[in-house]
């Protein structure tokens, strides 16, 4: 494995320690958030380190049960469990988006149990009209003022533009890495790509950009050594269990493209037209992130069909977390379209926090074997 990939993988596996060390060394504040619809640039421009919240896979859920019912998303329950157990001492607050109900209503549960100083809520629009973008820009302005109050310093237009530059560069580099999976065989595996993207949720974006530049240089010098007889697209919400990515790729298949919150949805779209009003530019960009909750079936199909074609995927695996109602609602019609219009075979598997991989492995292996390439 490349040394840069090892660094990225290590940052993901040891995220709490990495973040704790960053906090100790720099003294920076840190704000957590869910889903790729929160404009991180706002947080970054406020001089705060944004941290995408995912649970660590090391503890069963116990304390969260007294606040969140078991019929809610287990990743969110695991995350909340770890928060109330004090496993995120580096966090100074959180910003919660209007997304699925479990996340949306965590806002006041979070505030009531008050583990951190700052809590805010962003009404992410569920449409992309001019009216919706204009509203979203004003909503971002409100959150900007809240962040300024919290830090005691203004977020200038220049600092926001500069943050957008850094984030756009990150997207550009992540897309370049993603594009290395187009070749036959791909230059990097799906699991490696998972670590590349997930590490961007931990490390400082400028540092991550440096690592990505090094990685691209390393990969351009490295001979292709991977095999991908079957090329898969992975679709779902938060597909954050690395064991699943590894298990899918343990045979003759490779994940060459993805449609997940912790994958392409994070970096696919760029912030454009930022010269005039950076907030409006951010609003336009973040309203187009194709998450399960805010995106129509037609738009989701367009997104994944372009990806299936461009990355020449032979099959699609829908890996949907138990109780993820948004993704589960989209799945039946989306699946039908992929099969009927693209004639691409699909498999649906249900994931869960700390799920046993063995039964899933049997189904994935049978699916991969069934694909004629």
């Amino acid at each position: 494995m490349s040394s840069v990939l090892e660094q990225m993988s290590s940052a993901v596996s040891n995220a709490p320690a990495v973040l704790q060390k960053m906090k100790r060394n720099t003294g920076c504040r840190m704000i957590g958030f869910f889903h790729p619809v929160i404009p991180e640039e706002l947080i970054y421009a406020a001089g705060i380190h944004p941290v995408r919240l995912f649970p660590y896979f090391d503890d069963s859920i116990t304390l969260a049960d007294s606040q969140l019912q078991t019929f809610l998303c287990s990743y969110l329950r695991a995350e909340w469990d770890q928060i109330v157990k004090g496993k995120y001492p580096y966090l100074d607050g959180a910003i919660i988006p209007r997304s699925c109900e479990a996340v949306t209503f965590l806002y006041q549960t979070w505030r009531r149990h008050n583990p951190y100083q700052f809590i805010d809520y962003i009404n992410v629009p569920w449409k992309r009209s001019e009216n919706a973008i204009s509203f979203f820009a004003k909503e971002l302005g409100r959150v900007k003022r809240d962040l300024e109050k919290f830090t005691g310093r203004e977020i200038s237009k220049d600092s926001l533009s500069s943050a957008i530059e850094v984030y756009n560069r990150n997207r550009e580099l992540l897309k370049k890495v993603h594009d290395l999976r187009k070749s036959k065989p791909p230059f990097i595996s799906g699991l490696q790509a998972y670590h590349v993207v997930m590490s961007s949720f931990v490390l400082d974006k400028r540092e991550h950009n440096g690592l990505l530049e090094q990685l691209l240089t390393e990969l351009s010098r490295r001979p292709q050594s991977l095999k991908a007889e079957v090329r898969l697209l992975l679709s779902g919400g938060c597909v954050i269990d690395s064991r699943l990515w590894g298990m899918i790729e343990s045979g003759r298949a490779m994940i060459v493209a993805d449609d997940v919150n912790n994958g392409s949805r994070t970096f696919w779209h760029f912030v454009e037209d930022r010269t005039n009003d950076p907030l409006e530019a951010l609003a336009k960009r973040y309203a187009t992130v194709p998450c399960g909750f805010n995106t129509s079936i037609a738009d989701r199909f367009k997104y994944i069909s372009e990806m299936i074609t461009e990355y020449e995927a032979n099959g699609v695996i829908f890996a949907i977390n138990k109780n993820c109602e948004s993704e589960k609602f989209v799945y039946p019609e989306l699946d039908k379209k992929v099969k009927d219009k693209l004639h691409v075979p699909t498999l649906n598997i249900e994931t869960d926090y700390l799920i046993d991989m063995a039964p899933l492995r049997t189904r994935v292996e049978a699916f991969v074997e069934s694909l004629k390439v």
Partner: protein, 406 residues
């Protein structure tokens, strides 16, 4: 042994039953017909102003559950890959679409010409209408409004956005059905809706009386008028009839139970079990009534409607219902009302199908229990999918709660 009594229900229930029956005939025959959702929904008045027949798949799910048809419809939906994790209102409807059977309850709900949706409830509805758009290929018109997490400090631009969304939707509806929605027509619908709301608010106020004049199932019936007939003269007439009869009952000291029989006044949190409405009779036989519920008191009919300001009234309606606010707002209202309605116990339905009303409920119950020093019982169940309901388990827990209450 507790005696099971047959009690005389308020007469307005018969008039409402006739209106429900007429509504389900209308949705089969009147054109154009649109699917709408039952949240605090500004599109109901707009539909009536445009002479569009509204139909409500959630209400149909309640009717199917009451007729014990929902479990079969949910199973059919699951056979079409709609997971049991999805709200049973939605699965009930999708199951009906894919396999209505020979005799669907109420004769069915018909195929829509138009799909009208707001975001003032939950993501499920947005996804539900999007799936219907794929299935039927009919125009989908969507009003997106912000969720109001902090009602006390709601920014002005939230109202501006909601009003612009409504104006835009009116234009889209006019284009879709080829009908001009004049200011006069819209004002009239909003004015009539306001009259229904005024009667509704007075009706709820009377629930504070001892003995309680109506039980949860009576109020749930009256909700049909408040939601489905908002913006019609028929709705005003029915709600007036409901109000007048209830007022008379209060004046005469008539309750669901007599003053001597009424021993406990309980708060029900969340939606009832539509397939098991008889459960309220079980409570009545044991001296308990439900004068208050967030479902009947805080979701709908909370906005005063002004016919001279139709767009503003409709925007406020979209923003103010409990489904569009926050858990803290719900808790504040319940704490205030529990005192005014003389509540001495809480039954909370932790409803796996309704996340909007269930996420945060465990906190809400803890707070109410502590602040008011009253007992509370949480029941894990589902509003429509009868397969989730376990009679032995639920009744066991209720009996234990009632023993403690006594």
């Amino acid at each position: 042994m507790v005696e099971k009594k047959k009690r005389e229900r308020p007469a307005f229930n018969r008039s409402i039953a006739a209106a429900i029956s007429k509504h389900y005939k209308d949705v089969q025959t009147n054109k154009p017909m649109a699917y709408l959702l039952m949240a605090s929904n500004p599109l109901v008045e707009i539909a009536y102003a445009a002479r569009i027949q509204p139909a409500f798949p959630e209400n149909y799910a309640c009717a199917c559950a009451a007729g014990h048809a929902s479990a079969g419809y949910c199973e059919t939906a699951e056979a079409y890959n709609y997971s049991p994790d999805i709200c049973s209102y939605c699965r009930n409807h999708l199951g009906y679409i894919y396999g209505p059977g020979e005799n669907p309850p109420t004769g069915g709900i018909g195929e829509p010409d138009l799909l009208l949706i707001t975001s003032s409830a939950c993501t499920h509805y947005f996804k539900w209408w999007d799936a219907l758009h794929e299935i039927y290929g009919k125009p989908l018109i969507f009003i997106n409004t912000p969720r109001v997490m902090e009602p006390q400090s709601k920014p002005d631009f939230y109202m501006d956005y909601a009003m612009r969304e409504i104006e835009q939707a009116i234009g889209e509806i006019e284009k879709a059905v080829g009908v001009k929605i004049t200011n006069d027509k819209l004002s009239e619908a909003v004015k009539l809706s306001g009259e229904v709301v005024d009667y509704w608010q007075k009706l709820l106020e009377m629930q504070k009386a001892v003995p309680c004049p109506m039980d949860y199932s009576d109020l749930s019936n009256a909700l049909f008028v408040l939601i489905v007939l908002a913006g019609t003269q028929e709705g005003v007439d029915l709600m007036r009839e409901t109000y007048n009869e209830t007022k008379q009952r209060v004046n005469e000291g008539k309750g669901i139970l007599s003053k001597d029989e009424e021993r406990h006044r309980l708060l029900w949190i969340n939606i009832p079990f539509w397939y098991k409405l008889g459960i309220f009779g079980y409570f009545e036989d044991r001296g308990c009534v439900f004068p208050l519920s967030d479902y009947t008191h805080h979701i709908w009919g909370t906005t005063r409607m002004d016919g001279s300001k139709p767009i503003e009234s409709l925007a406020r309606k979209a923003l103010e219902g409990e489904l569009n606010t926050s858990v803290d707002d719900q808790i504040d209202k319940l704490l205030k009302d529990a005192k005014e309605y003389h509540i001495d116990g809480v039954i909370a339905h932790s409803n796996r199908s309704c996340r909007v009303l269930s996420v945060g409920m465990l906190d809400a119950v803890d707070i109410i229990r502590e602040e008011l020093n009253i007992p509370a019982l949480v029941l894990d169940c589902d509003h429509t999918d009868e397969r989730v309901y376990s009679d032995a388990e639920i009744m066991n827990r209720i009996d234990a709660f009632l023993e403690m209450l006594a």
